[in-house]
């Protein structure tokens, strides 16, 4: 009895209604929700394998305790879709909503948390500021009262936040696309986009030319290079972001712990590994190699929070690419001056949690031709119109 395949392999047709470039969570979710809306002649073209990019490298933190009303509303939709996802796609994506704690180590940090809590509560997102006694109940291992250079003063506690099995999300969407009649093409690299008369006409790939009127750029770290193929420059700079994982330990840490003052965050998977990360590298680069400096810094900061982890071993480190926009918020929608080019890019260090909402709303946009209100604040035109989204203060290390 041979098991049922997750997705099939196909010959690449010479035309599709919609071509999605990038087999990460955003590309696959867009294709999936398109298919759910009945647009099934869709091909997802992935240069390597599904999940090669950020979607297979991220630290899988999911939360909606953002800072701005537009950000909160958007990510809240994503969290709700994630909550339904396992049942909908019949695949356990292991969404563990064990809570998310953003720590503050100085007064300024605390007031930033209070501000977010106020805004979250206004929009009915479960989030509140808690203080060391209560933090200790949630995470007894945390260094709350011992010697510490920057003692923890408070935390923003967001109970629905947590982590998810990122690969499972990617695979489940890929299977969803396949089951609903779309096609996922791995090892298929887009090398050019043909444009005629102000409209997209075809994409060129290493497996041949594919005619299409609709192209969705969902290539994250490579987004600006793909967009340039169509002559549409993006205000995006690609930076590496690194992470590492330790050997499995008996689970002791349920919540996700984030400290932007100490530039570190950590969570523990169901396998028992600690996953930790830091800020992105501050130079622009496409390098996927980890550095020793990252390991040293992340370890140092983690031990300030959890001195008892000094004896825990790092097992592997890696890097992924982050497509950073000037306001640390994504760009979603149609290209203003080129018909048929859509994008969901600029996902930076925080985009995995956004996959479902972005796919859902992008599909609606493509299917109806109308921009859903929740997408409007994130249009490419906001830069020229000077309508930036104010998430920078909350996004940096918080993923």
């Amino acid at each position: 009895m041979s098991p049922e395949p997750m997705w099939r392999t196909h010959e690449l047709k010479d035309s599709y209604d919609v071509v999605v470039i990038g087999g990460g969570v955003h590309g696959l979710a867009t294709a999936y929700y398109l298919a759910r809306l009945g647009i099934t002649d869709v091909a997802v073209l992935e240069a390597k394998y599904v999940g090669f990019g950020g979607s297979g490298r991220n630290t899988a933190i999911v939360r909606s305790n953002y800072r701005t009303p537009e950000g909160i509303a958007f990510y809240d939709l994503s969290v709700k879709l994630y909550e339904q996802l396992a049942a909908e796609l019949e695949f356990n994506v292991m969404f563990s909503q064990h809570g998310h704690l953003t720590l503050a180590h100085n007064e300024r940090g605390v007031s930033g948390l209070v501000e977010r809590a106020n805004m979250n509560q206004w929009l009915e997102v479960d989030s509140r500021v808690i203080f060391p006694e209560e933090i200790q109940e949630l995470v007894p291992e945390l260094n709350l009262f011992g010697h510490c250079r920057f003692p923890i003063l408070a935390a923003l506690y967001h109970p629905p936040g947590g982590i998810i099995r990122h690969d499972a999300v990617v695979w489940a969407y890929a299977r969803g696309v396949d089951r609903r009649g779309g096609q996922v093409h791995q090892q298929t690299e887009v090398t050019g986009i043909e444009v005629r008369g102000g409209a997209v006409e075809a994409v060129v790939t290493n497996r041949g030319r594919v005619k299409t009127r609709v192209v969705v750029n969902a290539t994250a770290g490579y987004a600006s290079t793909i967009s340039r193929m169509a002559g549409v420059p993006l205000p995006i700079e690609t930076h590496p972001l690194q992470a590492c994982v330790t050997e499995p330990l008996k689970p002791f840490l349920n919540a996700v712990i984030v400290s932007s003052t100490l530039h570190v965050y950590v969570s523990q998977t169901d396998r028992g590994e600690l996953v930790l990360g830091a800020e992105m590298d501050d130079y622009a680069s496409y390098s996927l190699r980890g550095t020793l400096g990252f390991l040293e810094g992340a370890a140092l900061h983690l031990l300030e929070l959890f001195p008892c982890l000094a004896n825990v071993h790092v097992l592997r480190q890696w890097a992924g690419l982050c497509d950073m926009t000037p306001d640390y918020s994504p760009i979603m929608g149609a290209a203003p001056e080129l018909r048929g080019l859509y994008m969901t890019v600029g996902w930076g260090t925080y985009g995995f949690k956004a996959g479902p909402a972005s796919g859902f709303l992008m599909a609606e946009l493509i299917a109806t031709g109308k921009t859903p209100p929740r997408l409007e604040p994130f249009a490419l035109t906001r830069f020229a119109a000077d309508r930036l989204v104010g998430e920078k203060a909350a996004a940096s290390v918080s993923h």
Partner: protein, 943 residues
């Protein structure tokens, strides 16, 4: 039994294994001592809790992971025993011998690959419950909440050539490079050099001892033993762990001579205690003086297996059979029966090997042989991780059945077994060649070196390295379920076949789905087999199947080692006046890395002193920069939105820095001390960021005559403020401070209290005030002199808390507190600093657009009609929606009311507009107040 296993060495002591004392000897590893005590089940496997015992004895598999003195997941086969150590087994309850969760092994059929993905998600509420169960049984070691690790240190080294691996090839490489004049560091993870020669005595040639001595005595070779190179990073930066020391070695050239290990076979119950790699057996016999009681079977396809068999016999073990995978003529086997063209298909025995089942590879009936040990020496896995890590390209070579380098990254070399060169003579030649080539790169003009190199290359070419021609079959053909490919993760052959059939055909996806290669050994034991299986199942070649990416670290590294001692030595910056503050009983607060007085007596008292008499605040934490050069003014014209070219000598001006989007980054002052000399201040928190911001933009203007020096730490600074400050400072200063001579916004170099100083006439807190900058070493003296001079006038030191209130009354903003990543100076109430008539400056385009469209939101002052100050961060509600926030607030004695700053929509930002602020779920009304709350005309600070 224990008797004849007794270690030969003297100097005995005891350690505790699961609470029981175990005898050991100096030089023995924990694992060696336990083997000698017939302790063979050391752990339970990750998923099915199967019994596991010593397998590789070289720290490369998961089988011997224990908690040692509170450190979880320690490989006890490479950990020397020490008196009193506490060793505890993991992942087993109550003990590794009788583990209740071993029942999971019988449930394997119900846990196919990807089992978790397919189950437990329906209904939605089920998953959290299942997850709790999983989290109960997951993981290996346990952390000890009260153990914060040992003492770690870091060392930085530099070398011309780093040789990693002190085996035969490595020794030759190191000596060749050092003889050629290079400065060499030779690194080996073992306590002594020699590589596998140490535990394979039949190979050790006469030359070995001599080579060893030469290497240790050579002035050009530094030897690091017990040191494992775990990472080869960009630009040949090696991360090396030597006990509790992290060594960062930057080498011009890196030679990888790391050898490799035997390739584990995959057959039924291949994970039973008693199944070992041949090198593990050899290590235990020759380095640990262990015996193997009972019979052994050796399965092999090469000479090493035969050597191991003969050595076992010599040590008193009866070898029941040599199972030779190759059909060809056998090596010398003494009197041991040899089964050619056979392989092992299964192991019998439930807790330890009791016998093996062997079968001809060509097909045919299997037969059983009773034995206690199964020793494997089939095939080879090169330790090539460091080569991959540093960007070398390797391709599968069918001739040696593993990947070999086809393209070296810059500065990388390799030699010996890692290249598949097992013959000692050839390995020595390769090592020598690599050593010479590396030295030649470091010393490119040495002609004699070039000749030597050519000679070595020719000799190596002449040598036909003999390579195994028999491509072994690593996975036994049988329908059995318990054939483990991955020991760490309990992944079986069947799991991998199913995963490929489900579509996870890419080796990377296969890895992530099945978790093969993801365990504590990171694929060292299973990657080769996983790739071979993936190739078999997908019908691709091994070369096309590829490998999973090699990610550092090559060996697990403790977080404490990486962090070093900095955890306990975290940076604290103290101002030169710090001790005085402490003596005065100030409450301190953190400002970035700095400590600053927050309050001395009480905010009210300090406030009163500044408003009525005089106050003194330590401002040494400000960022301070010295700019010189004829291009400085031009540079500031570009960096700042306001004008600086027209700033006269002896004047200071307020300035804000914006980014390209016109967002306010920081504020500070710029003083012109001479025509081409400027003194700048930034806020405390942004000093470092602004330093790099300036440097970044300076780098873009290479022709400009500007020299910048960050003098933040070299100057102490203090701000003397209050109506009586002039009369206090005048007697100490050598310039005329009269208002006409030194008015508001004047700047001067002068002498204060006998010390050279820069004095700026500013007014942050709204009074006549002098910001005094003096060399740091005089900070305290000047501070005390000013206080003393002001004693009669009622001077008091004040802290940041009072300063905040004082400046709030003046509506002076604090960047980062009153502004965020959307704030531009036009909307933040600073339109006067933006000079759009200037041709270009950072953020000009954006600010021009913002000016054209008019403000959307504004930072405004507000006062509360009824007494109560809303906390900073309270929401401003307009039209039933949050659309702004309070950034600062407090009770203003001057206004006689609670006041604050808030961002509000432009529509309600006019003087007298009412805004609604949410406080504890209620809405409170506040009134927008345009003017400063104190001294609106600014007479005080100008007087």
């Amino acid at each position: 039994m224990t008797d004849h296993n007794a270690p030969a060495a003297a100097g005995q002591f005891e350690f505790l294994y699961n609470g029981r004392p175990v005898r050991s000897a100096v030089g023995q590893t924990l694992a060696g001592a336990l083997h000698a005590q017939d302790e063979h089940i050391l752990s339970r496997s990750f998923k099915y809790h199967r019994p596991r015992g010593l397998f590789c004895c070289s720290g490369r598999c998961p089988n011997c992971l224990c908690t040692v003195d509170g450190e979880p997941n320690v490989r006890i086969c490479i950990t020397p025993a020490a008196p009193g150590m506490k060793v505890e087994s993991q992942n087993a309850w109550p003990s590794p011998k009788f583990d209740l969760l071993a029942v999971l092994d019988r449930l394997q059929a119900f846990m196919p690959v990807g089992f978790y993905y397919k189950r437990m998600y329906k209904p939605r509420r089920a998953w959290p419950i299942w997850e709790r169960v999983i989290r109960q049984i997951a993981g290996l070691g346990r952390i000890d909440r009260h153990n914060s690790g040992g003492r770690y240190e870091k060392l930085n080294l530099f070398a011309d050539v780093a040789v990693i691996g002190g085996g035969w090839a490595g020794l030759h490489a190191a000596l060749a490079a050092a003889d050629a004049g290079a400065d060499v560091v030779l690194i080996d993870e073992q306590p002594e050099l020699g590589g596998h020669l140490r535990h394979d005595p039949d190979l050790a040639q006469d030359a070995w001892a001599g080579m060893l001595r030469q290497a240790t005595d050579h002035a050009g070779v530094r030897v690091l033993t017990s040191s494992s190179a775990f990472g080869c990073y960009e630009e040949n930066l090696l991360g090396i762990r030597q006990g509790n020391r992290l060594i960062r070695l930057r080498a011009n050239q890196v030679i990888v001579t790391t050898g490799g290990w035997e390739r584990p076979l995959v057959f039924e119950n291949n994970d039973r205690p008693g199944v070992l790699l041949a090198s593990a057996v050899q290590r235990l016999m020759h380095l640990e003086h262990c015996r193997f009681a009972g019979a052994a079977v050796v399965v092999t396809d090469n000479a090493q297996g035969y050597r191991a068999a003969r050595q076992l016999v010599a040590a008193g073990t009866s070898v029941a059979a040599i199972v030779d995978v190759c059909p060809g003529p056998p090596e010398f086997a003494a009197d041991i029966p040899v089964f050619r063209g056979h392989t092992v298909v299964a192991v019998r025995g439930s807790r330890h090997v009791a016998g093996v089942e062997i079968a001809p590879l060509a097909g045919g009936p299997s037969q059983s042989i009773a034995c206690r040990w199964l020793v494997q020496a089939v095939g080879f896995t090169p330790a090539s991780a460091l080569l991959y890590q540093n960007g070398c390209q390797l391709t599968y070579d069918p001739a040696c059945d593993h990947a070999v380098v086809v393209q070296y990254a810059r500065g990388m070399h390799s030699a010996g077994a890692v290249n598949g060169t097992h013959d000692p003579h050839a390995a020595a030649l390769e090592g020598r060649l690599a050593g010479l080539a590396a030295a030649a790169t470091v010393r490119p003009h040495d002609v004699s070196l070039a000749a030597l190199l050519a000679d070595a290359r020719r000799r190596l070419d002449d040598w036909q390295a003999r390579r195994a021609t028999c491509a072994a079959q690593y996975v036994a053909e049988s329908p059995a379920k318990k054939k483990f490919v991955c020991l760490c993760e309990d992944v079986t052959e069947q799991d991998l076949c199913d995963a490929v059939a489900e579509g996870y055909a890419n080796i990377e996806t296969l890895k992530r789905y099945s978790t093969v290669c993801m365990g504590p050994c990171q694929g060292k034991m299973c990657q080769a087999a996983a790739i071979a299986l993936c190739a078999r199942e997908t019908g691709r070649t091994i070369a096309d199947t590829g490998v999973t990416t090699a990610r550092p670290p090559e060996q697990p590294v403790p977080l404490g080692l990486l962090a070093g001692r900095a955890v306990r030595l975290a940076l604290v910056r103290r101002t030169p006046i710090h001790d005085w503050h402490e003596r005065a009983g100030a409450q301190l607060t953190d400002a970035g890395d700095w400590k600053r007085p927050r309050v001395y007596s009480s905010v009210e008292q300090e406030y009163d002193a500044v408003r009525c008499h005089a106050g003194l605040i330590d401002a040494s934490t400000l960022g301070k920069f010295d700019f010189r050069g004829r291009g400085a003014a031009e540079f500031f014209e570009f960096m700042y939105p306001n004008r600086f070219a027209n700033l006269s000598v002896g004047r200071v001006r307020y300035g804000v820095l914006c980014d390209e989007a016109g967002i306010l980054l920081d504020d500070g002052t710029i003083s012109r001390l001479q025509d081409d000399q400027f003194f700048l201040t930034t806020t405390t928190g942004n000093a470092a960021a602004i330093d790099s911001w300036f440097r970044w933009w300076l780098a873009a203007r290479p022709g400009l005559d500007v020299r910048m020096t960050n003098v933040s730490g070299s100057y102490a600074a203090m701000n003397l403020a209050g109506p009586r400050s002039r009369e206090i400072l005048q007697p100490l200063a050598d310039i005329d401070l009269a208002n006409a001579a030194f008015p508001y916004l004047a700047a001067a170099r002068c002498i204060v209290a006998g010390v050279p100083a820069v004095v700026l006439r500013l007014g942050f807190v709204g009074e006549c005030s002098y910001e005094i900058h003096v060399p740091a070493q005089f900070g305290l003296a000047v501070w005390e002199a000013v206080l003393e001079a002001g004693h009669h006038a009622g001077i008091q030191p004040f802290g940041v808390e009072a300063q905040r209130l004082l400046r709030l009354e003046k509506k002076h903003l604090l960047p980062g507190i009153d502004t965020d990543a959307l704030s531009n100076p036009l909307e933040a109430g600073l339109p006067f600093v933006v000079r759009l008539e200037k041709p270009d400056f950072i953020g000009r385009q954006a600010l021009e657009r913002a000016a054209r469209r008019g403000p959307r939101q504004m930072l405004v002052g507000f006062r509360m009609p009824d007494g109560f100050a809303p906390e900073p961060s309270s929401l401003v509600i307009h039209d039933g929606r949050p659309c702004g926030r309070v950034t600062s607030s407090g009770y203003s004695p001057a206004a006689g009311a609670a006041v604050g700053l808030a961002w509000v929509p432009a529509a309600i930002a006019r003087n007298g507009d009412t805004i609604q602020i949410q406080v504890d779920g209620r809405l409170l009304a506040a009134v927008v107040h345009d003017a400063p709350f104190y001294d609106p005309a600014g007479d005080k600070l100008r007087s």
